[in-house]
């Protein structure tokens, strides 16, 4: 896994929000544009179809009108006339005059191609035979139908003004009556092609690339907005292909251009109106929309980026200030000014950190105090090891014993004193076994008993199991000293000091009980809380000192328990944990690491 440097919270928020916003905006932009494009395409298709239908209706109207002219001429004039008696010219002229805007000429030919009547009256071109012309052949070959030709230049009549006309010929076979005999003829209505052209030009007025063209059933172009270009081969159209299309909208590709082709068949003639909408038209129409979408998306993105910057700065600023506070703390300022501000969570974090810093600060102060007390206690303990007064009295007693030739007692006392000092020193150890502590107490009491001439008795009742556990050294001696000085001094041989050692509920209890004068409960309770009073006599190590040393070493749940009643005596109990006396435990206790190790073992 590749390691990356941690980034600032502002950068992370800003970048992630910006990327998300860009993606969403771009996605929305594309979606919006596509939606617009689709709608526009549909709209174009509908408009194109609508325009095509309107044009088809107009064209059908025009062609229907032409058929009506032909019908009127045939059914109302030709069928009622006998050519031997009446001419067709008058009615034909009337019809022509009424419709001359859309017509070039009306003519009726006999089956042999001879002109029967024509309007407007004109000279027939010399040498022109209609028999070979397409419209005539169509009419003769299919008698029942109307025949619409494709546009062509009329080649029938002489126009001295040099004019030539493009026409669409509507021809039909008719029955002519001549002298009572019926014969076949052909009625020709030459429609003015420019009328059709104008009609379709209207539909092609739009300047866009969309256009409509007209072709016959075989794909021959009747009208195309670029007809001349197609005729001269400068442009091509897929009219042959489109002539096979049914009335529908088809998407096709022609000459590399995608386009939408809509076909509509003109009734009766079989002509087909074709609408061409190049797909390019849609995109041209969408140009403004495209720019608008880009504009909107970019504006939104810009706003989002700026907003992201502001929001991320607002979120990150309090955290940064908090971080600066932590950095200040890390750099050694133990009482930094922790920032509290910003959002609710950051305020909470700041307050918690502030409280933690304060607590740690207090704890550190406590530790320093405790350490000082511990050092002081240990100093006191050391001092207690060499009490000049006690030593002076003992040595004085030994001198007097020797002088009085009580050598045996002097030897005993000297031995006890030596043993006492050995245990007191313990090679500098603070933690010793209870066995050694008891021995020390016994030595001490042995000396004191001689000094006090056996004014009291000392009884030791210590369980052997207890002797192999650890204790802080010199805890019993001050208790015994207190018992002697405050309990035994006025007892006249009836004094008794009971030293007990036992194990209870996993802890060790060492009791020093005397049957001396005792004291009131309130005064006894004050022994552990008040400052040591002016020492009268004794080792100089008070009960408070012992209590403090035990609590410092084993914890606050341990220490001294004092029970006393006036005239009944006093009992001081040492409560310590039962820790087997091994070299390892002794070492751990000396270094103050025993509790830490036990907690680790529990975990």
């Amino acid at each position: 896994m590749q390691h990356t440097d941690p980034k600032s919270i502002q950068l992370t928020i800003s970048v992630s929000f910006t990327i998300t916003s860009v993606c969403i905006m771009c996605f929305l932009g594309v979606l919006l544009y596509q939606q617009f494009a689709r709608k526009t395409e549909t709209l174009y298709a509908e408009n194109s179809e609508q325009l095509l239908n309107q044009t088809a209706i107009s064209l059908e109207d025009y062609l229907r009108n032409m058929r009506r002219i032909s019908d009127a001429m045939y059914y109302s004039v030709i069928k009622d006339k006998d050519l031997a008696i009446d001419g067709l010219d008058e009615e034909m002229d009337l019809l022509y005059e009424a419709n001359k805007d859309n017509l070039i000429s009306i003519a009726c030919y006999a089956g042999d191609g001879k002109l029967v009547a024509a309007a407007p009256i004109a000279n027939v071109k010399a040498g022109v035979s209609v028999l070979g012309q397409e419209w005539f052949q169509d009419a003769v070959s299919q008698l029942e139908n109307f025949h619409f030709s494709i546009p062509h230049v009329q080649n029938l009549f002489d126009d001295p003004s040099y004019r030539y006309h493009w026409v669409v010929s509507l021809s039909r076979s008719v029955e002519l009556t001549n002298n009572g005999d019926t014969m076949q003829g052909v009625l020709l209505v030459d429609m003015n092609y420019s009328s059709i052209k104008q009609l379709l030009e209207k539909a092609n007025q739009d300047i866009s690339k969309e256009y409509i063209y007209l072709m016959d059933r075989n794909g021959e172009i009747i009208y195309h907005p670029k007809q001349n270009l197609i005729r001269t081969g400068l442009l091509s159209e897929d009219n042959r292909e489109a002539s096979g299309y049914e009335d529908d909208t088809i998407r096709e590709r022609f000459m590399g251009e995608k386009r939408m082709v809509t076909v509509k068949t003109i009734s009766y003639t079989g002509w087909k109106l074709v609408s061409i909408v190049p797909m390019e038209t849609f995109s041209m129409g969408m140009e403004e929309t495209r720019y608008l979408v880009i504009l909107l998306v970019t504006l939104a993105l810009l706003a989002t980026v700026v907003l992201n910057q502001l929001v991320s700065a607002r979120i990150a600023k309090p955290l940064k200030k908090l971080n600066d506070s932590v950095k200040e703390w890390e750099s050694g300022n133990l009482n930094p000014d922790i920032y509290v501000g910003g959002s609710l969570e950051v305020v909470h974090l700041g307050k918690t950190l502030q409280s933690t810093v304060s607590q740690i600060h207090q704890l550190m102060k406590d530790i320093v105090t405790e350490q000082e007390e511990k050092r002081k206690s240990e100093l006191d303990a050391l001092q207690s090891q060499i009490n000049p007064h006690f030593l002076y009295n003992t040595l004085d007693s030994i001198v007097w014993m020797i002088t009085g030739e009580r050598y045996k007692e002097a030897v005993f006392m000297t031995t006890q004193l030596g043993s006492l000092f050995r245990v007191s020193l313990s090679r500098g150890k603070t933690i010793i076994s209870i066995e050694d502590e008891i021995r020390h107490a016994k030595n001490y009491m042995g000396i004191q008993k001689i000094r006090y001439k056996n004014a009291f008795q000392v009884i030791f009742q210590v369980e052997p199991e207890v002797e192999q556990c650890c204790t802080v050294k010199l805890v019993l001696q001050p208790l015994l000293e207190n018992a002697i000085y405050y309990g035994m001094e006025y007892m006249d041989g009836e004094g008794e000091i009971l030293v007990k050692g036992y194990k209870k509920d996993g802890d060790i209890y060492l009791e020093v009980e005397d049957n001396g004068l005792g004291m009131p409960e309130e005064e006894a309770a004050r022994l552990l809380t008040e400052k040591p009073r002016e020492r009268k006599r004794g080792s100089g190590v008070g009960l408070i000192n012992v209590d403090s040393r035990i609590r410092l070493r084993f914890g606050k749940e341990y220490g001294l328990i004092i029970e006393s009643h006036p005239d009944e005596g006093m009992k001081v109990t040492i409560h310590i944990p039962a820790i087997p006396y091994t070299e390892e435990n002794q070492q751990l206790l000396e270094e103050g690491k025993y509790k830490v190790k036990k907690q680790e073992e529990k975990l």
């Binding site: 600032s8 950068l11 800003s14 910006t18 071109k125 062509h152 230049v153 080649n155 002489d158 126009d159 040099y162 004019r163 030539y164 006309h165 493009w166 092609y193 420019s194 052209k197 670029k226 001349n228 270009l229 005729r231 001269t232 400068l234 140009e287 403004e288 495209r290 720019y291 608008l292 880009i294 504009l295 970019t298 504006l299 993105l301 810009l302 980026v305 700026v306 910057q309």
Partner: protein, 323 residues
Amino acid sequence: MNKNRLYIGLLVAVMLAVLVYASYGMVNAGKKESYYSVAVIVDDSSSDRWTAFKEGLEQGAEEEKMHVNVVSTSSFLNLHEECSILSRELENGAQGVIVQLTGDDVDGLFSGLVSAVPTVLIENEGEAKSLFTTVMPDSYKIGRTLGENLLSGEAERLSGLRIGILSGNQKMKSQRLRLKGFEETIGRNGPEIVWTLSDAEIQDQTMLETYWKEKTVDVLVSLDNDETELAGDFILTLFTDKPKLYGEGRSEKAVYYLDKGVVSSLVVPNEFFMGYQCIRELAGKLNYYQEDDGRDTEVDFLSVTGENLYDRDTENILFPNIS
């Protein structure tokens, strides 16, 4: 942090650039395309012979988004007269010109006038062929085709056949080439060219009638549209010994004379294409800054007789204008 600020700054700068681009695009999207103004100067612009050419111009202008102004002119007396009109059009803001040179630009007046304007020459390139883009039929080929038509039409009486030529404006190089083409084709095959008259010599029908009385011919050959119409008009006045007429032209009157049999064969250039192509060439110069590099576009032509006059293909060339 500075790096991050730089990135954010760059992103904002890019967005601002896109904003400016999109705004510019939006503002300009609705604007109509600009149209170039093109002046067309031809001899006797109202003549019917230019109808197909104008159709071609119109079609091309529609596609290339140009305003085409066919300057109203009568017959030019000389190139200087034409140049004065051209000068006026350029002063009026014509951005491109299409010109039928009615003479050879021997003194460089024309070249000097249009030196800074995209120019296309039609029908006659004068003596400045290499300087300008031209769109025109091969005049020599037209003359040769006329000769070939005559030879095939009069094959039975070539020997001793007397020919009179109406050669049109011989100040124009194109007309000289037509004459040359015709003469070189005929010269090898026996007929005799009795006379050759330019428009300077035969200015109207009366002059032709006068000349005709002096030297009658069996066949008249007209080398341009006006001469064909003139010859047609003249032949219709004759009651006997009507000469046959072989000509060049494309006006409805010329076609009518062909239809009536007055003209035996007519050479018709595809002037619709000529007009259309002129605009395409000019568009290339105006839109894409193409140089006046002497590009030549040859316009095709066809020979029309009474037999193929109403053929579909011929109709399309002869009558591009729908009336």
